[in-house]
Amino acid sequence: MKKFHIGILLAFAIALALVACGGSGGAATEAAAQPFRVAIVSPSASNDLAFSQSMFDAVKAIQAEEGEANFEVAITDNTFVVEDAAAAIRDYASQGYDLVIAHGSQYGGSLQEIAPDFPETAFAWGTAGDTFGLDNVYAYEAASDEGGYVMGVMAGALTQSNTIGVVGPIEVGDAKLYVDGFVLGVAAQNPDASVNVNYIGSFSDVALASEAAQAQQAAGADMMTGTAQMVVGAIGVANENGILWFGTQANQTSLAPDIVVASQVYHWEVILREIISNVRAGKLGGESYKIGLANGGEVIEFNDGYALPADVLTLGNETIDGIKNGTITYTLP
């Protein structure tokens, strides 16, 4: 029995040490008189150059506008285990945060249980379109298909091999919207091009994403895109083989400056500002928000380091404008 205890103790000691380490990541600033307090719970790292970072950057942007003394931010990231996330959400709510952002569609079920217990706290949940009919829950989502469509149009124009590869995680939510938009964009621009969509079944398996990109290359792709945090593996392969890459969720130019054509970047601050002012005014939820190209929540950032042919750049900009003013429409599957 003694041996067993040593093992248990060790495991606990290490786990505790890690919890302590993890805790230090939460960037709680000095409390001023009555700062607005926001907490974010997200499934991957807050600097993943993808989904989690997009929200983190938005909140930081608002904090920069309002000043650290008036706007407090706390982060719990890497909570890919939903139970851990639920515990963190409940914690922040009971600590009296003004707005708790559950940044992951998988957290919906937990939030539905937690939100009614804290009627004084506002929750935001995304990406999703459903507030569960609760008046202290906001839902937010990105029309990522819009950016996807623009990328698809440009890829369709640029491809020589008429074969385009997509490396996706699991066919749900934001990823599905983006990929569907992309496929429609390619089809609209270049009906001869075929798009090979490969959902690898994981948001985190970098090695598999890398091999999926290899498979795309073997199938003849000269343009690639992909979404979720494991795509760093695919971008590496694209870079190695000179395949052009279209990014989303964050500006991915730094990962492969030579081959990234453009990235769709989310600016959640557009809708966060509205949510925050609602909360300040006493309205704690009950509405759904969507970012898109039109409201400035989605921005296509071109890579200056890549010499995009002028006609394609023009085509891209025209597509963006067309979506914004409603002259370009499409039907998602």
């Binding site: 041996k3 067993f4 040593i6 093992g7 248990i8 060790l10 495991a11 000691a13 290490i14 786990a15 040490a17 890690l18 380490c21 993890g22 990541g25 991957s44 790292a45 600097n47 993943d48 150059l49 970072q53 890497n78 590869g165 699991i170 066919e171 075929s194 090979n196 969509v197 490969n198 959902y199 690898i200 079944g201 994981s202 985190s204 398996d205 970098v206 090695a207 598999l208 890398s210 091999e211 999926a212 290899q214 498979a215 795309q216 290359q217 073997a218 199938a219 945090q229 494991m230 760093v232 593996g233 971008i235 590496g236 870079n239 730094s254 990962l255 492969a256």
Partner: protein, 313 residues
């Protein structure tokens, strides 16, 4: 795209090459674990060691640009963690499953913490380049499949015969096998069970460190939180699958890698309906586990596996 595309030469070559690349990190980790288990120590911390080896070597390349130094760092990290694991499970005789999980949690958390503090966002590096072997790499079909890889992939496959040779043909291998089957008998013949187990656990952990490096500085050339995505645990399963023999482990790693590559190719070519692609993505694990259940006879399992040894206990 249709079924015929799957059977085109370039796609088939692509699948085989991909399977071999995917097998690389599993091979290092599982061969290392084979040594450990053959001497009677179950090291469940492989994935944690891989993560720290992956981060350590990645960080050395990022700061110095030297892949050689980076590999040395992975070796050193593996050794130190192996020494720790051996101390806990051999000297302190802790329950091996739990201490292994502890080591995993440590490696997982520490690699992420260091990554966040020292690196931040994903930054690609220049890892081990592809090293086509002259002449051999020009052979049609075989060349691209076998002889156009990076140094660490070659190393992983060379490791298999070396490990089999050590286990089956050397006096050290004999001692390892004896200690894993009947430590009391080995002790009665003057073999230090402790010494042998320290050796195998440290060697196994060192290989786990290289397994991590093979991901971060040879195959993917990047680091991200939880880069291994649980590969270390699959590696432990592959040791059982391979019935504690390096050749069996090789078969398991290749099977796993090839099925994964086949599913990827099938998905890419649209041969697998989108509605089942998520399930298809789990096929490597499912098939490997099924094969494990069907084929493994635990007859070959080291009889003293997970059992600490103390004289007269």
């Amino acid at each position: 795209m249709g079924l015929s595309d799957l059977f085109s030469a370039s796609v088939l070559i692509g699948i085989a090459t991909s399977g071999i690349r995917l097998a690389t990190s599993y091979l290092y980790a599982a061969i290392g674990e084979t040594f450990s288990q053959r001497s009677g120590v179950l090291n469940l911390g492989v994935d944690g060691i891989m993560l720290l080896g992956a981060f350590g070597s990645y960080y050395v390349v990022l700061t110095t640009g030297s892949q050689g130094l980076a590999l040395a760092a992975a070796l050193l990290i593996g050794m130190i963690l192996g020494l720790f694991m051996a101390f806990v499970s051999v000297t302190l005789k802790a329950e091996q499953g739990i201490s292994g999980i502890g080591l995993y949690l440590f490696g997982f958390g520490m690699s992420d913490l260091l990554y966040q503090k020292l690196v931040g966002t994903p930054r690609p590096i220049a890892g081990f380049p592809k090293l086509p072997i002259p002449l051999l790499s020009d052979i049609p079909v075989i060349g691209p499949i076998l002889f156009q890889h990076n140094l660490l992939t070659y190393g992983a496959f060379l490791l298999v015969p070396v490990a089999a040779f050590i286990l089956n043909k050397t006096t050290l291998g004999l001692q390892i096998r004896a200690v894993g089957q009947n430590p009391e008998a080995a002790d009665s013949l003057g073999i230090s069970v402790t010494r042998i187990r320290y050796m195998t656990v440290i060697a196994g952990s060192t290989l786990a460190g290289i397994a991590g490096a093979s991901l971060s500085i040879a195959l993917l050339n990047i680091f991200q939180q939880n880069l291994t995505n649980g590969q270390g645990f699959i590696a432990v399963a592959l040791v059982y699958f391979g019935a504690w023999r390096p050749t069996g482990v090789l078969a398991g790693a290749l099977l796993y890698g090839l099925i994964a590559a086949l599913v990827l190719a099938g998905n890419t070519l649209g041969l697998i309906p989108r509605s089942v692609s998520d399930i298809a993505a789990m096929m490597p694990a499912i098939i490997t586990i099924l094969a494990l259940v069907v084929t493994v006879s635990r007859v070959r399992e080291p009889a003293a596996l997970t059992k600490p040894y103390g004289r007269g206990e």
